[in-house]
Subunit: 377 residues, 2 copies
C-alpha cells in the first residue's frame, strides 16, 4: 500500500499495534506495520532496556512509544507522596475488598495491599526523556490532551505526536493543541474509552476536524473493536487513514497477558466485556468478571474511587488474582479480568503476532475486493 | 448495483429504510431503495389505508412492513385486558411521574394517563393479515424471533421474513427458526438495541451463521448508527449485504417526528443519546432528556417497569410533552425525547427523503473509491 500515512511513517500497511510487550511491537514493525510500546508501566531504566531490545530487533524500521499522562487525576498539582495519596483512600474500602476476596476463598492479608499507580502521571516526563534517546518515530498519549512537554518535544524533534480521543470535541481540542495524529477510539475499545461507537465516531471526528477554522488536516486512525482486516478496511472506507489496535495482540503467542486470562479471552463473546471504572478509576472496557461485578455500573456495585486511587488498590490485588488463577484457584478465576475490547468475540485462537499482521493484510484485501465487486454491473 | 440482494428484492441499491411515515417509505422505494413501514402503532384499518396509499405511490416497486411482536412481555399468554395490565402498575409510579412533571411546570391531571401499548404483542396477527393483502415484498419483526404465524405466512406466500438481532446467539436462533434475512443491529442504533457495536457485531454474526451446521447462508443487513453512504460502504466491506436504517429518516421533510424533537436532533451530537428502558420497558436508544434522566441506568433514576407496562404509562405522557414542547413550554422541551441512534451526531439538516437516498449512493461510491485507492501503488 502507498497511502499518505504509509509514506509519512515509512510503513507498508497502516496497522498500528499498541502493546505492553516488546516482542509484539518488534514483530508488527518487522511485518510492515507500526508497533507502539505502552511505556507507562515501566520504570525509566526498564523502558530503556525494552527500547534497546526493540532497536536491535527492528534494525531501523519505525516504531513508537505510548505514555499515559492523564489530563485529570486526584491530587494533580498537589505534588503528593504515595503515602499522602493513600491517605485519601477510605478505610472501609479495604474491608470491602477483603470481603470480596473472602467470598472467593482468597486471603492476601500478608501481601502488600497498595502500590503506586502507573497512571499517576508523575513518571511521564522521565519516561519520555528515555524514549527520546531511542529512534522512535511516534510518541502518543492514550488519555486526554498530551502534556505540554510532549507537544514541545514533538516540535523540537520533529517526531509526530499522537493522541487518543473518544469524542469529536476532544479531537478538535487536540488538533488545536498541536497534535499530529488523532486516534479516534470507539466505545468498543479495550481500556479507557468513551461512549460513541467507532462506526459513528470516525465520520464525526473527520467532519469536526475538517471544520476547524484554519485547522490542519490531521490524519485520523480508527480504533475500537478492530481485530480483523475487514474492520480495518471498513475504517478506511469511512475515511480513516488506518487502524490503531490493541486487544488483538493480547492473545498472540508473544503477549504478556496472564495465561488464565488468555483462556477467558479465547472463550469470550463480544458481550463478555464491560465499560467499568473498577480497575483504574476511569471508565475502561475489560472482561466481565466477579471483580467488575463488584463495582458500578454493575447494579448494586460500589462506586469506584477516582484515578489513580482506585488503581492503587485494584492493581496489586488483580495481579495476585492472576497468579492464583493460573494455579487453578476457582475463586481467583472468577475474579480474573483484564482490559480488552468487544473484538474479543472474534479472537478465538493464539497466533504469532506476525501471523496476525499477515491475516490482517489478506482480510483487508478481500474486504476491499468485496466492496469493489458490489459496484460491478 | 447488481448484488445478490438487489436481485432478490428487485432494488437498485441495498438501502433499507424503516419508517413509521408512509411518505418516507414511498420516497425511498421510488428512489431505488427499499422502504419498510413500521406498522405496529396503527390500527388494522389505518394500516390498510397507509399501505393502499403506498401502493399507489410506488406502482409495483418493492416495499415491506415491520410489525413488532415482542417474544417476551409482561402478561404473555395470560390474555389480559388493558385494565388487568394497568392493575399491575404500582400506584406510586403515577405519583413519581406527577412529581417529575410538576418540577417541569406541567399539570396533565385532566388527561388520560395510560393508554394501551402498541408493543403489547396482541395486534400483530391482525396487522400482518392486513399487510398480506398488499403486495409487500418483506415482513419483519424488530424484536426477537418472529412469531410462528409470521414464519408460517412467509412459507405459504414466499415473502421473505426478516428479524432484527443484537447478538450472534440470537442470529443463530433466528436462522434456525427459518428467517430469510437477518438485520444485525449494533448498540448505536435508535430504538431497541443490544450492547455490541455494529463494527464488531457484523463480522461476529456472519461468522456465527456460517458455522451453523447445515445452515442456510442467510444474508445479513447491517444496522445501527448508519446515516451515511460511507458507513453503508463500511458495512459491505465487513461482509453485510446492505444497510437497514431508521434514525436518518427522522429528520427528513416527510417524517412524522415532533417538530421540537427534530430541532433537538439537528443540534445533538452522538453523545446526546442513551440506552434506556424508560420509554418502553426494554433498553432502547433515545435522545437524552430530563425524561431519560429520571430512569435507570441514569444514576439515581427509578427502575422502569417491564414491557409493555412502562410503555402504557410513558407513551401518553410523552405525546403530551411533545405537544407542549412544540408550543414553546420550557419544561416540556427539557423532557422531550424520541428514539434515535448515535448517528444523530451526523444528522444536521432537514432534507427530502429522496435526497438522503441520492446522497447515500454518492457517498457510498466515494467510500468504495477511497478504499480501492488505498491499494494502488
Amino acid at each position: 500500500m502507498k497511502t499518505e500515512i504509509c509514506d509519512q511513517f515509512g510503513i507498508e500497511f497502516p496497522l498500528f499495534a499498541f502493546s505492553h510487550c516488546r516482542d509484539v511491537v518488534a514483530a508488527v514493525t518487522n511485518a510492515g506495520g507500526f508497533g507502539v510500546l505502552g511505556g507507562t508501566a515501566f520504570r525509566p531504566d526498564q523502558l530503556d532496556q525494552e527500547l534497546s531490545w526493540i532497536d536491535e530487533q527492528v534494525k531501523g524500521k519505525p516504531y513508537g512509544v505510548d505514555i499515559i499522562v492523564p489530563a485529570k487525576f486526584e491530587g494533580k498539582g498537589e505534588n503528593l507522596s504515595f503515602g499522602q495519596l493513600a491517605d485519601r483512600i477510605p478505610d472501609d474500602l479495604r474491608g470491602f475488598i477483603d470481603e470480596l476476596l473472602a467470598t472467593h476463598d482468597i486471603d492476601i492479608s500478608d501481601q502488600p495491599r497498595m502500590a503506586p499507580s502507573s497512571l499517576s502521571g508523575d513518571t511521564g516526563k522521565s519516561l519520555l526523556d528515555v524514549a527520546l534517546n531511542h529512534p522512535i518515530k511516534l510518541m502518543a498519549n492514550a488519555l486526554g490532551v498530551p502534556p505540554d512537554y510532549m507537544i514541545e518535544a514533538g516540535k523540537q524533534t520533529g517526531i509526530p505526536v499522537a493522541a487518543l480521543v473518544g469524542a469529536k470535541e476532544h479531537a478538535v481540542k487536540q488538533v488545536n493543541a498541536g497534535v499530529d495524529l488523532i486516534v479516534a477510539q470507539g466505545t468498543e475499545a479495550g481500556g479507557h474509552c468513551g461512549e460513541v461507537t467507532t462506526l459513528v465516531l470516525i465520520p464525526e471526528v473527520l467532519e469536526a476536524i475538517a471544520a476547524v477554522p484554519g485547522g490542519r488536516q490531521v490524519p485520523v486512525l480508527a480504533a475500537g473493536g478492530i481485530v480483523t482486516g475487514r474492520q480495518m478496511a471498513a475504517s478506511v472506507a469511512l475515511g480513516a487513514a488506518g487502524a490503531w489496535t490493541g486487544s488483538v495482540w493480547l492473545t498472540t503467542e508473544e503477549a504478556e497477558t496472564a495465561p488464565y486470562t488468555v483462556q477467558k479471552m479465547l472463550a469470550a463473546t463480544s458481550r463478555d466485556t464491560v465499560r467499568s471504572a473498577g480497575r483504574t478509576g476511569k471508565p475502561s472496557r475489560q472482561l466481565v468478571s466477579d471483580w467488575t461485578d463488584a463495582w458500578q455500573p454493575h447494579p448494586g456495585g460500589r462506586e469506584p474511587l477516582p484515578l489513580p486511587l482506585q488503581n492503587m488498590i485494584a492493581e496489586p490485588v488483580l495481579r495476585r488474582i492472576d497468579k492464583l488463577a493460573e494455579g487453578g484457584h476457582p475463586g481467583a478465576q472468577a475474579l480474573a479480568t483484564y482490559f480488552v475490547g468487544q473484538g474479543v468475540g472474534l479472537m478465538n485462537k493464539v497466533k504469532p503476532a506476525r501471523e496476525v499482521v499477515l491475516e490482517f493484510i489478506e482480510d483487508y484485501l478481500a474486504a476491499a475486493e468485496r466492496l469493489g465487486r458490489s459496484l460491478e454491473d
